[in-house]
């Protein structure tokens, strides 16, 4: 058992901290939000140059090492500054699926382009009514000779509007709730029959609802063997869950820090509001929530990297996301409440942190979902 960072992790942390300090103040971020893409392609290229896009990948695939703790270190710092670039959709989820499921040829073809910053990807998982159940897939993949025809509707596709290529989770066999028969296909975002309806989420991140209307792909577009994708999908989504959870840990820390600072400067009744004991104890409660969230997310990342079995890993991730969810409600709401009116304006970074962590509470399964998943494993 060991709780210290490796030298590489320490360097990674320093590197991300330097980037957000130099490139991601609140005003710069507001400009990005207002831009067409909603994030900066220059930043993305910089991520590639700095080697960050290699972080989720194994060394044998040309990556940094790919541990969950590496991801955690990086995401936490990105979370503090609410970085908008689609690192999780492209590198963690899509990259992760290619890494887990892809043939050697597919990996050789795609992974270097991801790590080089040349490829934006999105993974179409959820469907209307599927909620957080990864096995609930109605989108069909029908084989027709060497072709496969994809039909169905996907929602909440992160980075869906800007991705060059899409990974589509579709059912090549089995009934709607079955784990068997699920496949992942690589589809060109501009392919005939792909209808993207792009929008921005409340946290400023881009997403899309995408209809696949008899979209034709080659059978070679399937990542690995057809019908066998469920386990990898669950594993990759668990890893993405730890990534956004780590991001939230950073964001919650920011919320706490900004609230404490504000309470020291905001005067009411002739004194800083931070001198009111009722508010002090509530900030202490926020601190406790932040520390518990950090501890359990760290636990989950460490478990993913450990020799534990699949169920134990899944259980650790659900424990973390569930506990984090409670911290998100508590710390987020208290940060706004203690800021008072100014806290609910779009002018203040606190409101944006609050929106991002609230979105993360839902992403990849909300508190209640993960509490039950924990109990069921």
């Amino acid at each position: 058992m060991d709780f210290s960072f490796t030298e590489e992790q320490q360097m990674l942390q320093d590197s991300v901290q330097k980037f957000v300090r130099d490139n991601y103040d609140f005003e710069t971020r507001r400009e990005l939000l207002a831009s067409d893409r909603g994030y900066s392609s220059e930043n993305w290229n910089l991520f590639a140059e700095l080697g960050w896009l290699t972080v989720p990948f194994r060394e044998e695939d040309g990556g940094f090492g790919g541990s969950a703790v590496d991801l955690m270190v990086m995401m936490e710092e990105l979370g503090r500054a609410m970085v908008l670039e689609p690192f999780v959709p492209t590198a963690v989820i899509a990259g992760g699926l290619i890494s887990e499921l892809g043939t050697d040829d597919q990996k050789r073809e795609l992974l270097p382009r991801i790590m080089g910053g040349e490829l934006q990807l999105a993974c179409a998982i959820s469907e209307p009514g599927s909620r957080f159940n990864l096995a609930n897939v109605a989108t069909r993949a029908e084989a027709q000779g060497e072709k496969v025809i994809l039909s169905g509707s996907k929602v909440a596709v992160l980075n869906g509007s800007h991705a060059d290529q899409l990974l589509v989770v579709a059912r090549s066999a089995g009934s709607q709730l079955e784990r068997n028969g699920i496949s992942v296909y690589l589809v060109d975002a501009g392919a005939p029959g792909v209808k993207r309806h792009g929008y921005t989420n409340v946290d400023g991140h881009g997403a899309a609802a995408i209809d696949f209307d008899a979209v034709e792909v080659s059978s070679a577009a399937c990542l690995g063997a057809p019908g066998e994708a469920y386990a990898a999908l669950e594993k990759v989504v668990d890893r993405a869950t730890v990534a956004v959870a780590s991001e939230a840990v950073g964001a919650l820390d920011s919320l706490l820090q900004k609230t404490v600072e504000y309470s020291k400067t905001r005067n009411q009744f002739g004194v800083p509001i931070g001198t009111f004991q009722a508010l002090q104890h509530r900030m202490a409660d926020m601190f406790i929530e932040c520390q518990l969230a950090r501890s359990i997310v760290m636990m989950a990342a460490m478990k993913l990297d450990s020799s534990a079995g699949d169920d134990e890993k899944a259980k650790a991730v659900s424990a973390a996301k569930s506990r984090l969810g409670r911290a998100i409600f508590k710390v987020g709401q208290e940060a706004i409440q203690l800021h008072g009116g100014i806290g609910i304006t779009d002018e203040l970074d606190v409101a944006h942190l609050f929106k991002r962590v609230t979105a993360i509470e839902t992403l990849f399964g909300n508190t209640d979902y993960h509490t039950r998943r924990f109990a069921s494993l």
Binding site: A156, T200, G270, Q337, G340, F354
Partner: protein, 399 residues
């Protein structure tokens, strides 16, 4: 003690319900049902209908246009309005400035201002808060300096709700800088068309165009627009804040929200072949919310009953503010749970009349995150919940 309505009360309930079913305009009702933002015209049109019926100002004395209803009748009226989703009249005129004018204004002021409020000819807004005077309202700095038969007003008011529509603003202004902070404040009515007034919109985190900053730069206000005595404004505002707590708990509104929540959950897939409403742990959370709401409703009824027998509602009504906002915010949280990914898209224009883009997700649910964000305000405004607790500690518990 008796929970049953009397025959007269039942007849009144019937009357109100019939009126609302036939007179609440279908197009406005449809907007409410679809969670489309109402326009100023919608609101004014509906208020004029209410006024034609004589029901615009149940809280006023009958001689000025009030209804003369018993507290139970007022309760029934609010219940029925909430049931159908009919909006209450905008509070700033009828519920906030009017009671002050009624209690402390001159007869001339009553004649000049009250009819236009009743008839919705004039839209009022509130000028209390300032950037550095939030919970500590009495530390306000906007000054009104006497210059002949005018006051010259300078300063900045904030959290001004719907000020973009307003014709008049009622303000607390400082008329004596040398007195204790509560004692140098006056209550002034100001025409928003006066030269020197600028309204700057404040964008909230849900993107809603709801609140403003109002800047006064040497605005000249005739002295006849002063309510009551100079430097007594704090007392006027405070007495009214304590007494005018009708429907502060907003039970009918939250009841409607909870009903919407239950029907949304009933038609919402749980992802595993069932409906969310059948999920026992979700059902328990909804039940707790309904139970809280019931407790709140009876706490409010007890307060109303105390008023009936002549007692002032008193600081206990701070409970209604605290619990009313907490319950409403809890409903927002449960909506988030119902909506899952459909809560997330930020497309505020889809809630404006005439939006023609493709709807995202389950129509009604697509506003849930925005509602959750927007409603964080309710525990902050109107005397933050922390201030309400201070009031309970001091005035009720003697701490």
């Amino acid at each position: 003690m008796n929970a049953d309505f009397t025959k007269e009360e039942l007849a009144f309930q019937h009357e109100v319900r019939n009126f609302l079913e036939s007179e609440f305009p279908a197009d406005i009702r449809d907007k409410v049902d679809r969670n489309i933002r109402l326009s100023k015209e919608d609101i004014v049109r509906w208020q004029k209908i209410l006024n034609r019926q004589g029901w615009m100002a149940p809280n006023w004395p009958e001689e000025y246009g009030g209804t003369g209803w018993t507290p139970t009748q007022k309760y029934i009226f609010n219940q029925e309005m909430g049931r159908i989703g009919a909006p209450e009249p905008v509070a700033f005129g009828v519920k906030m400035v009017a009671p002050v004018i009624l209690a402390y204004g001159s007869e001339a002021q009553k004649q000049r201002f009250l009819p236009d409020i009743l008839e919705s000819n004039v839209w009022w807004c509130q000028g209390y808060s300032e950037p550095n005077a939030g919970s500590d309202l009495a530390s306000l700095k906007t000054t009104a300096v006497r210059d002949g038969d005018h006051y010259v007003v300078n300063g900045t008011k904030t959290w001004n709700t719907l000020g973009q529509y307003a014709d008049w603003i009622f303000c607390l202004v400082r008329t004596d800088n040398t007195a204790k902070k509560q004692e140098g404040i006056s209550f002034l009515l100001i025409d928003m068309a006066s030269p020197g007034i600028k309204v700057n919109p404040i964008v909230l985190m849900d993107g809603s165009p709801e609140v403003n900053e109002v800047v006064f730069d040497n605005v000249r206000v005739p002295i006849e627009n002063l309510i009551g005595e100079e430097n007594k404004g704090w007392t006027y505002a405070k007495v009214l804040l304590t007494h005018e707590r009708t429907n502060i708990a907003r039970v009918p509104y939250t009841k409607r929200r909870v009903n919407e929540l239950k029907s949304a959950a009933a038609s919402r897939a749980d992802g595993s072949g069932g409906s969310l409403a059948d999920d026992p742990s979700f059902a328990s959370k909804v039940a707790e919310l309904e139970i809280d709401l019931l407790a709140l409703e009876y706490a409010e009824l007890r307060t109303l009953a105390a008023v009936t027998v002549g007692k002032a509602p008193g600081p206990e009504s701070s409970i209604l503010k605290i619990v009313g906002t907490e319950v409403a915010q809890k409903a927002d949280e449960l909506f988030l749970e119902v909506a899952d990914y459909d809560a997330l898209p930020f497309v505020p224009e889809q809630f404006e009349a005439g939006f023609t883009g493709a709807a995202l997700g389950d129509g009604y649910l697509a506003s849930t995150a925005l509602d959750y964000f927007n409603h964080r305000k309710v525990s902050i405004y109107g005397g933050s919940n922390e201030i309400q607790k201070n009031i309970i500690c001091k005035a009720v518990l003697g701490l």
